[in-house]
Symmetry: C2
Subunit: 265 residues, 2 copies
């Protein structure tokens, strides 16, 4: 199968996966999810929606590409004979989902070994999809589509920084490093989960800096950010091969400046 | 004009105002707004979209109700002969707007003296409207609509708490008070602006606690929260007559518990 043929095929398949995930999760959004959780001692934001979506996606992928591996947040790894691997987070931003705030998304990445190839973020309530790979990132909503480009911001003073929550940073070294960076940027905002990486790809903000991520949280977002001209690494500037501490930047210059501000935590 | 006639009339007029505001602001959303701001020294999130929307809304209200007063965030107060007063925040959540995150909204409240009568939050990118007043709150999206009811959560341990940003609390007394409350709830989240109050009305979360608000930031949201069964006061439990420190709660029990946890800052 040629590279171009594969790209088209993957694009169509992503559209189908977005539809399946939306069908699985939307019935649970804006409903009284809290009933389940009230009974529990702690707070575990794993919902029926997460599991329903991942099962639907795994089944579709296995049927279409039986040799591919699948790694999902809820049901772990299913090893195939191919080096191609699908990485699924059925609902990234579960806390937003459970609070009725529509900036969660279904994340689906396709990797070849340690190389990210394609990634999609689908937000079915708004009806948006962000799809990156092959050095391009597309935004789609209904019949509308756009090719996305990141911003050219080259000073921290002009930069907008996002992170999911201040509590995601460990108090000893991560929180002070994030604070050093935060004090140098124009604006710091919390709470956008995967939507922040997509807004970065769309040229709306400059930096997303996070810690304690799972591989599922970031795998699909790397092609989306990189396809639009951005850079995604860990806090040491190394290629991402798992979760942990992640920095996504609109361009190489703002990436280098942000890494320097974080220091060596 | 009868109360019921007025309610219907106001509902229709709110729909028209939502349409006008959407037409004014949507061309600016997801575009390269940062160009203007880069040139500035500080960071002033006032945009052309804010001003265009408020002008459009003021003009429509003045034409329809020439005797009413109008208070808007951008262009101040226009006094009429009636005690009825429209309070407009053309884009609540300007920072979300400028970062491409679609949880900002146009807020339009109608007050009679110091009493809130009706309020609307319109999110035109998603296509949602939340309209409260007359002891009811409605959610509308296209042809869909629902009557909203807040949650019955009666313990802080089961409660979800929202605030726009940790930096909104003054360090001396507000931040410690918010921290006392935050430590007792199940989950604290930041970043949702006016959308958090609407999600509270929709039964998706339990508390929104904020400080340093303008009157425009809260005037339209009070009827939305109260119409769904919630309570909105200042941090002393008094009726809201302006901006400042605000607590919105899903019901009177969780409101009392949260007030007690905040203490007397």
């Amino acid at each position: 199968m040629s590279a171009i043929g594969f790209a088209t095929e993957v694009g169509d398949f992503f559209a189908e996966l977005a539809r399946l995930a939306g069908e699985a999760v939307l019935p649970y959004f804006h409903t009284a999810l809290e009933v389940d959780n009230k009974a529990r001692e702690g707070f575990d934001p794993v919902t029926a929606a997460d599991r329903a979506a991942e099962q639907s996606l795994r089944s579709a992928i296995s049927q279409r590409y039986p040799s591919h591996s699948i790694l999902g947040e809820e049901f772990g790894e299913q090893l195939g004979t191919s080096s191609l691997r699908w990485i699924i987070d059925p609902i990234d931003g579960t806390r937003s989902f459970m609070s009725g705030i529509p900036i969660w998304g279904t994340l689906i990445g396709l990797w070849d070994g340690t190389m990210p190839l394609y990634g999609m973020m689908s937000q079915p309530y708004i009806g948006e999809r962000y799809i990156g790979g092959n050095r391009e990132t597309h935004w789609r909503r209904g019949a509308e589509s756009r090719i996305l480009t990141t911003r050219a911001t080259t000073s921290l003073r002009a930069a907008t920084l996002f992170a999911t929550a201040p509590e995601m940073f460990g108090p000893d070294s991560e929180a002070p490093a994030f604070k050093r960076l935060s004090e140098q940027v124009r604006m710091t905002r919390y709470g956008a989960d995967c939507y922040a990486y997509c807004a970065l790809a769309a040229g709306q903000l400059d930096l997303v800096v996070e810690a304690g991520l799972g591989f599922y949280d970031i795998a699909a977002l790397i092609p989306i950010v990189e396809g639009a001209g951005g850079v995604v690494t860990d806090w040491q500037g190394r290629a991402v091969t798992g979760g942990g501490r992640i920095i996504a930047a609109a361009n190489p210059v703002i990436h280098a400046l942000a890494l320097a501000a974080l220091g060596d935590p």
